[in-house]
Structure formats: structure tokens, C-alpha cells
Amino acid sequence: MRWFDDFIERKTREVAQLTSRRSAMLKVGRLLVGAGMLLPILPFDRQPQAAPGGHGGEAATAGHGGHGGGGLGDPNDDTTCEYWRYCALDGFLCTCCGGSISECPGGTEVSKVTWIGTCQNPNDGKAYLISYNDCCGITACGRCMCNYNIGERPAYRMGVHNDVNWCMGNKANSYHCTVAVALGIAEAREPTA
């Protein structure tokens, strides 16, 4: 199984190299937020909406973003694109679709294959390997579209590519939303460029 270990080692190195700093993520993130690429409805503003009843926290939904929010999203609010784990996430946040950061919404199934990002947690300064699992088999969620691409690469590097439907390996293969679970701690290095 030596070749196998080699693969893992290479893969690990690869993702570690793609590690990016929070500062870079924020710069890119805001620009993409404005761009709204792949948005079903454009333009919009992804500021979190303060729910008048004090039950806020749900992010503005795609296409209906409020303009009442202010400032950057909170890197610790997992219903905003700016949540730290989303640095290579391209899709709908399950946290806005009835799920959570690690829970697919009811009625879905978890994608069998995933793509991997490496994101820095601003709370401990460490870089984490993040697995982005798509939740599959029911109609697209359409809420809280995010598109970050730190460490993302074209499809010739499939494991770090986010422009495919990662429900493709499932029998129920339509795309609903994406979770972001932490797999482990990676070494934080400067990104290649």
C-alpha cells in the first residue's frame, strides 16, 4: 500500500499549499459577493438580515438579499458566506436550507464524494482541512449562494474543484446545498501566490 500512502501524502501537501490566509479570503470574498456569480438572481447583497423579531441570524437568501445589513459577514456566523470554513465553497449554504454546518436538510442524502479546501480558523489561527459535502436528491435550495475559490483549481485537479455537482456519485444526484465539515488540522503555509 505504499503507493497509496504516497498519494495521501501528495494530496495532503497539495491542499496544504493551497492554504490561504483569512485576509486574502476576505478580499476575494467581498468582490465575489458583489459579483454574485452563479446566482440565480442578480444582483444582490449577502449581508445578513437582522430579523426584526430578534430571531435573526439567517443570512439574506439568494436573490432577496436585504440592504439593511451592515459591514462584513461574521467569520463565526455559519449562515453567511464569510464564515471561515467556506473559503472554497461554491453553492448554497445548508445552514440556510434547514440544515446545519454538518447536517444535510431533511429529505436529502449526503454526497459520497467531496471536494476539499483548506481554510484558516480565525479563532485559533490554525488551518483546517474542510470537506464540502453536497446534500443531494431533492430540488436545489436556492438560498445563501456563496462562491469562494481559495485553493480551488480547474477540473484537472478534481479533488479541489468546485464547479461540478458533487452529488454526481449518488443515485439521487440532484444538488440541494453544501455542508462544510472539518476533517483535520493542516499546517498553515503561505499560499503559492
Binding site: 444535510c104 431533511g106 429529505g107 464524494v113 455542508v179 465539515v181 472539518a182 488540522i185
Partner: protein
Amino acid sequence: MAESRGEMMRIWRKGAAAAAMLLMGNVHAADFVAEQVTIGKLPPANPARMYVSDVAISHIVDGRMHIVDGETLKYQGVVGTGFTGLATLSPDRSEIYVATTYLSRLNRGERTDTLDIYDSTTLNLKEEIIIPPKHAQALPYKGVIAVTGDGRFVVVQNATPASSLAVIDRKASKYVTEIPTPGCWSILMAQTSQRRFTTVCGDGTLLTITLDEQGMPADQQRSERLFDPDKNPVFTQTENEGDEYLFLGFYGDILSANLGGAKAVIGDSWSLLDEKDRKEGWRPGGYQPFAWHPASKRLYVAVHPAGVEGSHKNPAAEVWAFDTQSRKRVARVPGENTVALAVSREDKPRLFGIDPLTAGLLRYETVPTLKFVQRQDGFGEAPILIEMH
């Protein structure tokens, strides 16, 4: 290279947890347990839970029913309703029924209509019952799909465009029969009978159909005229307390009928409007323009001023509350552009609405007085119907 790629795929197929273990062997396993992805289900329902139908007309093959916690207006989940799906819940709220169309090639090809049955807690599909390819490809108005009080039969509005009703036996998981209902529309369930429902006809009468225990029509009787469809049409949406059904006229009348018997009995009617209202042209409007809370005798109506021919789906300028005993208006509040109203079945009911400008859901308190309290925007694209848990 080729081999390792192949193996990579195989690793991934074991799922994230397995991949995590392997990857972590070469990273930092210390102090960190890889997270698992799980599948959620809905939290226990409260009476304010809403099921909001959305026709998604720009992608009409891919409609939705959004499930929203009315207490917080937080999104809880979604059920795909397919191509002009018509959805409702079982009387005990444990199941969601969707009558819809699937085409073999999305927008073309062979048409299959089904009654899809979902568990209302897990949102998993439990069953699919094939029905004739005639379900009404219509907007999801209240009453286009209904269930007998004992949960046994689901009745679905058909249109080819000739109108008929499909009867499905939920217990036996099979389609039973089609009942022609030419010129009539909507299904209003009797409450004191488990085998009886009424439909609203274009000549102004009500047609009551009584089923036998197999779900076959055993009796059909037509009522006296409830309304003059040329001079004073009614909306098809109804509200009821037991067998006492209320209808809303285009020009502000409340009409009534008792639908408990083999033949509907027309009740009395009254107007929501006084002389001044009429002068200002107030009229009801919307897709689900009124809601009734029988226990508190409160009726809520979405209204707009300066009404004219064709304004019957206009969003509301105001919501008016009436006491159905005194037949007096007891409150008027801003309409927030609502085109739908629904009230929760609880002691201190909450009233909900839909603002189509923002795909927004609206929450009003009704106790001690009617008051707008919350709005949350962005529930799908074209939500037009609310069913309460």
C-alpha cells in the same frame, strides 16, 4: 498516476469520515476528531409552522413547498412539488401529499402524474402513487387537493381542461376513480362526514359528492345558487368551522353554506364594506385573500382601495379584521402587499401573509389586537399559498 487517481475515487466513495481518517494520518490527528455529516429532520412542529407553496413559474417544472417556522420565520426545509404540484397535509399532519406531473425529458416526453407522499418530519419520500395524467396544472390555490377527515381518501382537482376529481385511497395506496365535475372547481371537505365533499360550480351552485367506502361516488346533489357568477363572483378559497363554510365575494361579501349534508345548504351573507368603504372602492384581493379563526370569531381579509375590474389578485393595502358574530370591523392594519392570509390554530393565533414583491413572509399578532410584527424576505420565487400545521 492513473492508479492513484482511481484509488482516490475509491477512498472518497467511503465517505468523508473515512477520507478524514486517512488524510489525518499524514496531517495532525492530535486533539481533533473529524466531524461527520448527518441528515437532519424537522424539529417538533408548533402551530405556527407554515407550508408555503411556490409555483416557481420561471422554472415551472421545478416547484416547491417551503417549510417555515412561523415563530421565527426561519427556513426549515423544502419539498419539491414538481411541475405545477398541488400540495397539502394529512389531517394529523404526519404526511405531506403532492399531486404533480413528471415529464420523462423534463419539459417534454412522457407525462406521469403521481401523488407523492412525504413524511412531514424526515421529509423523506414514503410512497408514490401513480394517478391519471390529468392533475390540474394550476396555481396551488387552497382546495385543489384535499383529504377526508379520517385520512383515508385524497381528492385531487383534475383539468384537461375539462374538470374532474381524482380519488386516491391513501390507506390502500391506490388510485380509485375519476369523478367528472364539469364547470366546477375546488374540493371542500365536509367535516361531520368522512366521505363527502363539495365543489364550486360556474353557475353559482355547489355540487356535493358523497363517496362510498370504496371511494366511488355514491351520490351527487346540487345546491341552490350560492352566488351570481356574472354579477358577484366568489373566490374559490374558503374558510370553515366544521361544516360551516365561508366564501368571499369579489366585491366584499361574505357568503356561507353548510356543507355537512348530501346537498349543500346556502346560508346568509353580509358585506364587509360600509358606505364609506364602498365609496373608496375597497375590495378583497389576492390568491388566498382571507383567513378565519373560528374560536375567536375573527376574520381577516386582504383588501385594496380603488378596486376595479381585474384587481381581484392585487396585493393588499390593508388587512382588516372582523368579528364574525357582530359582523363589524374590529381592526385595520397595513397590508404589507400581502396576497395570502393564514391564521394559526391556537388560542392566541398568529396571522401570516405573503408579500410577492420580496417573496416575503409576514407575521402579525392578533392578541390583544391585530398588529404587524415581523417580515422575512426571500422564500423562494413565487410563493402564493400558506397552509398552517
